[in-house]
């Protein structure tokens, strides 16, 4: 019923295991799927099923054992450590469960941080960061330190930091996992708007069904296998 959307993330036959001492812990098995541009995908599954691992792999902060991950035009499994760092800076926005803001930096400085790896001028960095904070409704708190803000507010700062570089994909690992219901709703609403109004591609890991409801597509991971119900989110 809709025109065919461009595939922005292509994952093929992905395997991943961890090694602890002499032990090999297999985590992901033969994962294959696509994510279209402008998608809002929720990745669900019980704790320990490999959601974070999968998200880390497609965001380029962990290395695959086997398989291919293409994001945009780049097969990121072929990149070196340094190339990967550069690629992340330009292509991925990160949102974590525990916000992961730098505690000694003010809100505005946290948002500006990733822009220091770009060629933007000081003035431009400040403008972009202010705009991003405005988008999450926290322009008035820009001189506050993370310790002076609530969890919900910190997560909004984190969202501003994730979008300030205008990345290809946004990845979120349990973004509401540490928040009360009201703050969680606020964060989810914000992500929905980023997706609907700005066309951001979002991949969100969660085990909270209410969070998953907000996504357009649902994927389930169980014991390292991707379930084959490629269903539209029933909402």
């Amino acid at each position: 019923m809709e025109e065919q959307k461009r595939i922005i993330v292509e994952i093929r036959n992905l395997y991943k295991s961890y090694h602890r001492a002499s032990l090999t812990i297999p985590v992901l098995f033969d994962i294959t799927f696509d994510i279209a541009e402008g998608e809002f995908l929720a990745l669900m599954g019980p704790s320990g099923s490999g959601k974070t691992t999968l998200l880390n792999l497609l965001a380029g902060i962990d290395k695959v054992d086997k398989g291919m991950i293409r994001v945009g035009d780049v097969d990121i499994t072929t990149l070196s450590e340094t190339q990967l760092a550069h690629w992340r800076a330009n292509n991925v926005g990160f949102i974590f469960q525990f916000y992961n803001l730098i505690p000694v930096l003010k809100a505005i400085e946290n948002v500006e941080l990733p822009l220091h790896l770009t060629s933007l001028s000081k003035r431009q960095r400040r403008d972009h960061a202010e705009m991003a904070l405005q988008m999450v409704g926290l322009a008035h708190r820009m001189d506050h330190y993370p310790g002076e803000m609530s969890g919900g507010e910190q997560q909004r700062v984190a969202i501003a930091r994730a979008i300030v570089t205008d990345p290809t994909i946004l990845v979120a690992d349990e973004p509401t996992g540490d928040l009360d219901r009201a703050s969680a709703e606020e964060i989810l609403g914000m992500m929905e708007r980023l997706n609907a109004e700005m066309g951001k591609t979002i991949i969100m890991v969660t085990h909270d069904p209410r969070a998953a409801q907000r996504a357009k597509i649902l994927r389930r991971l169980d014991k390292g296998y991707l379930a084959h119900d490629d269903s539209q989110n029933p909402l």
Partner: protein
């Protein structure tokens, strides 16, 4: 720029921990600086001694005298320019605790041989004219509040009795390293008294001081002097003043070595303390470093962050300690002026302070940095929460 901002704020983020660590470093640097200064001042006497001046003493031991008749014979030796002589007096001023070096000398030649003891012409004249006169160094006179014309009594130890002297001059040092705590009076005064009370001890001197016409003649002259008195009743040993002073403090060498070792131990201890602080802070910040790597910052940035934080903390402590060393050394030098006539914090000590601080900082940062760089981003992120 942002990296610098983060590292400065990190260094002072945990105020109590940073404060205590900085205090520890400051105290360690202070202790290190004072100990180095003690060692420096110990050797200052040796350094101040001239290599072109020779000292002749009894070959058997410094405690045995030489006859005064040697004076003329030494003067005859080729290459000798001036000769003076004297005795260690070892008198006590009121109480044994008031230690300062005191000896009698042949005044005219002594002042010529020691131009670094600067005396005004008027005072010099007054001193030479008064047989019971004495000259004191500026620090010594100041310490006991002596004024020109005051009569001072020393209790003799080697030469019994109470000895009265009149202060005729106060010298000051020509160089920074000149000892300003000496007390010297006329050899003739001692000798005349000895003639009356103990004739066998008269006409004796403890040492001869010799200057040579050319510095390169020193060793030849020394040999010639000792050869002259070979097989006589009192054989001599002649060495440069520097060697003489070194021998004088040789017995203290072990103590100096001990102090030296303690000064390094202090640095080692604080090194371990700072390393512990850095290990703790870095462990707490593993998540911060992981997020920075996630955003695309590299190992170089992380290295700057950790080494920078370590350096900021250590140098803050170091500068505080260095600033404290000056008043502390002054107070210390004041109370111990007679033991350490020259107690001054040297440029070398300050350089050693800085070097020690940088060493401490780098040592403390190296292992945490390796860990922070090596840990995978995914692992680092999992440590949060």
């Amino acid at each position: 720029m942002m990296i610098l901002k983060i590292l400065f704020r990190n260094a002072f983020h945990n105020k109590l921990r940073s404060g205590l660590t900085i205090l520890g470093i400051a105290v360690a640097i202070l202790a290190f600086g004072l100990l180095r200064t003690v060692i420096d001042s110990w050797y200052a006497g040796v350094e101040a001694a001239s290599t072109s001046r020779l000292v002749t003493r009894n070959a058997i031991s410094i405690i045995f005298p030489l006859p005064i008749s040697y004076n003329e014979k030494i003067r005859q030796i080729e290459g000798v320019k001036m000769v003076s002589y004297g005795n260690w007096f070892g008198g006590v001023y009121i109480d044994e605790k008031n230690f300062f070096p005191n000896f009698c000398v042949e005044p005219k030649t002594y002042l010529d041989i020691y131009p670094e003891f600067v005396l005004s012409p008027a005072e010099k004249k007054a001193f030479l004219a008064d047989r019971k006169g004495f000259v004191a160094g500026r620090k010594l006179a100041k310490k006991y509040g002596w004024r020109i014309g005051d009569t001072i009594t020393l209790k003799g130890t080697i030469f019994p009795g109470n000895w009265d002297f009149v202060l005729r001059g106060v010298y000051h040092g020509r160089d920074d390293t000149t000892d300003e705590t000496q007390f010297y009076f006329h050899w003739a005064y001692l000798n005349e008294t000895m003639k009356k009370v103990s004739p066998p001890r008269a006409e004796q001197v403890g040492f001869y001081m010799i200057t040579v016409t050319r510095p390169d003649l020193s060793s030849d002259v020394a040999l010639a002097v000792d050869k002259t008195f070979k097989n006589s009743l009192a054989e001599t040993l002649t060495e440069t003043e520097k060697a003489f002073n070194q021998g004088f403090i040789a017995m203290s060498g072990a103590i100096v070595t001990a102090i030296q070792m303690v000064s390094f131990v202090v640095i080692f201890i604080i090194m371990a303390v700072v390393a512990n602080t850095m290990a703790m802070t870095t462990r707490e910040r593993i998540g911060d470093y992981a997020i920075m790597k996630t955003l695309g910052f590299g190992g170089r940035d992380i290295t700057i962050l950790i080494f920078g934080e370590s350096l900021v903390m250590t140098l803050t402590g170091c500068l505080t300690g260095m600033a404290l060393t000056f008043p502390a050394a002054q107070a210390f030098g004041h109370t111990l002026a007679t033991f350490f006539p020259v107690f001054r914090v040297s440029g070398e000590t300050l350089c050693l302070d800085i070097a020690a601080a940088v060493l401490i900082a780098c040592f403390a940062a190296i292992i945490p940095t390796r860990q922070a760089i090596r840990i995978g981003i995914a692992d680092g992120l999992r440590r949060v929460g």
